[in-house]
Symmetry: C2
Subunit: 332 residues, 2 copies
């Protein structure tokens, strides 16, 4: 910076003013400085700046597990927000290994704080997160959590899985189905549990005994496929799948075993990933706008950073999309 100043015949302080816009810089001086910057190929050092300034225009993002449609879209949404706000995202991605995850999370957060991020978005359900937050974050930095369960003390945003499940269940019930089974996602997923809760409530409200939950284990199509290989097809007429991928795998297994959809049973998922409408048959599903979710999370952390005030929990509303995989129960 002093080089630039020297070349432009002014002090380094004036060059600083040139960049920050603080104080006055003469028109002619401004030109000379700009000229010197170009000539020298000078680039301001954000690090030095951030040492002084409290805000770094940087948000930390923590994600866990493989990117599926939902999490990738969520990240896209956050990135869009960051782009618009001219903020940099520092992303840390943790695998879902057997390693002591809480420790990893702690280390990751610790480093983000070390880098003086303005805020942190945690885009995953993490076991014992509250404890980590209390112990590690200690209000040093605002945190927004994208997670199913309303964590009491933290700002949070989430796709409304319960309503999504309710929409699907209502649809299946209206079609006349009574033997409905829930194909679950990961057991430790709030989203899956919320959808399951919707399942149970819908069943009990309809006065139908709930069927045993079919466990997928994770959100992948493979899990759905494996579930479909083991399940007893005579026990149900409709499947509520925790997400579209599970539904896809399940349908493939059903096909292999000689069952046709929706003639033999109906099936519906959650998410409405772009591929869902091209499944065979096209999948009925509850659409979730993950891009808006990510965007919302980013906006939320920003507001929190700006105002310092706690933010109201946000639920991203689902929308039922009816396609060919669900049909009225045939009276056979």
């Amino acid at each position: 910076m002093s080089d630039v100043g020297r070349m432009a015949g002014v002090s380094a302080q004036t060059v600083s003013r040139f960049f920050t816009g603080t104080g006055y810089v003469g028109e002619e001086t401004r030109l000379r400085i700009q000229h010197a910057i170009d000539a020298l190929g000078y680039r301001p050092n954000r690090i030095a700046r951030n040492l002084h300034v409290s805000r770094t225009d940087t948000i930390g993002v923590l994600t866990v597990g493989d990117f599926n449609y939902g999490s990738a879209q969520t990240l896209t949404g956050m990135s869009a927000g960051a782009q618009d706000a001219d903020v940099a995202l520092i992303t840390t991605h943790l695998e879902q290994g057997e390693m002591p995850r809480p420790r990893q999370v702690q280390v990751a957060i610790e480093r983000m704080i070390s880098m003086r991020v303005d805020g942190i978005i945690i885009s995953a359900r993490i076991e014992g997160l509250e404890g980590i937050l209390v112990e590690t974050v200690r209000d040093d930095v605002p945190v927004v959590v994208i997670a199913g369960r309303p964590d009491t003390s933290v700002d949070s945003i989430v796709a409304d899985s319960f309503t999504a499940g309710s929409l699907v269940m209502q649809h299946l019930l209206e079609l006349g189905h009574r033997s409905i089974v829930y194909l679950a996602g990961p057991v430790d997923s709030d989203e899956s549990r919320e959808r399951e809760r919707a399942y149970h409530r819908a069943m009990s409200r309809a006065g139908i005994p709930a069927l045993p939950i079919v466990a997928g284990g994770d959100w992948t199509s493979i899990a759905g496929y494996n579930a479909g290989l083991q399940v007893e097809f005579s026990s149900f007429t409709a499947v509520f799948a925790g997400n579209d991928e599970l539904a896809l795998g399940f349908m493939a297994a059903a096909r292999e075993r000689g069952h046709s959809i929706p003639d033999d049973f109906s099936i519906a998922g959650v998410d409405d990933m772009p591929e869902a409408r091209f499944f065979a048959p096209a999948l009925t599903t509850a659409r979730l706008d993950f891009s808006a979710l990510g965007r919302g999370a980013f906006d939320m952390i920003r507001r929190r950073v700006d105002t310092g005030e706690p933010q109201d929990r946000i639920l991203v509303a689902p929308q039922l999309v009816v396609r060919r995989s669900t049909a009225a129960l045939s009276t056979r």
Copy 2:
């Protein structure tokens, strides 16, 4: 830091040594310092550190366009590398809008350099990238590009689309197909063009006139679907789809129009996304290991940062996965 020193009864300098591991710190002093750190909840400020140290342990990642299976997996791979190497990723995601993209890219790179990243990974084909690199990066920071065309002057890594295409074409030809059509991805995509090149070479080597390219427009299943609505089905017996998603959409359109696969025609894609094996029918495809691609890109930029030497271009090898969507040409 000086607070910690004061509390532990030592100078700030000794505390610094405590963290960096440089020089000697007495056993007992070490304990006192650790104690003070815990008591004060002190966290070292990486920003201040980076002001001094040349390496920031930070890599910038630039991505463009929506996350599909490939790009999401690539990001996962890079993140895994970063996690292992204890490096932070600063990600910037640009939408594929009509905005003057080169300008956006330039701004994004400029900011990364301002943040003093150790290196930059550009995970996309970008129009006029070489110019931007020359003009903006100016050797200030190493760059690795994930892109289809061997950019002469830059380190690069890419999935071997040409071989992938060749594998698929060889498979289709061996099945007896001669009327094969290529369902293209984005016109400005090197990957799609490489696959198309493989198509043309395979056809000419087999002494068969190439059929007109069917344009998808982008990589999405919707593009494949639209193409499938317009195409003349009597003109081919096999389809080489630029990727799995295009194939999915195309199959859905074919189904709608009363064609069955692989009886009426065969189809194969590229990628082997996890869903591909559950398509109806299961999709033959050339598997690409995007996770390894991302991992390789990260390792490459690290080596470049460490050694300063140009890295050899890496091609990630594909692998043919034969499933039910392709069958021998029936002699009708």
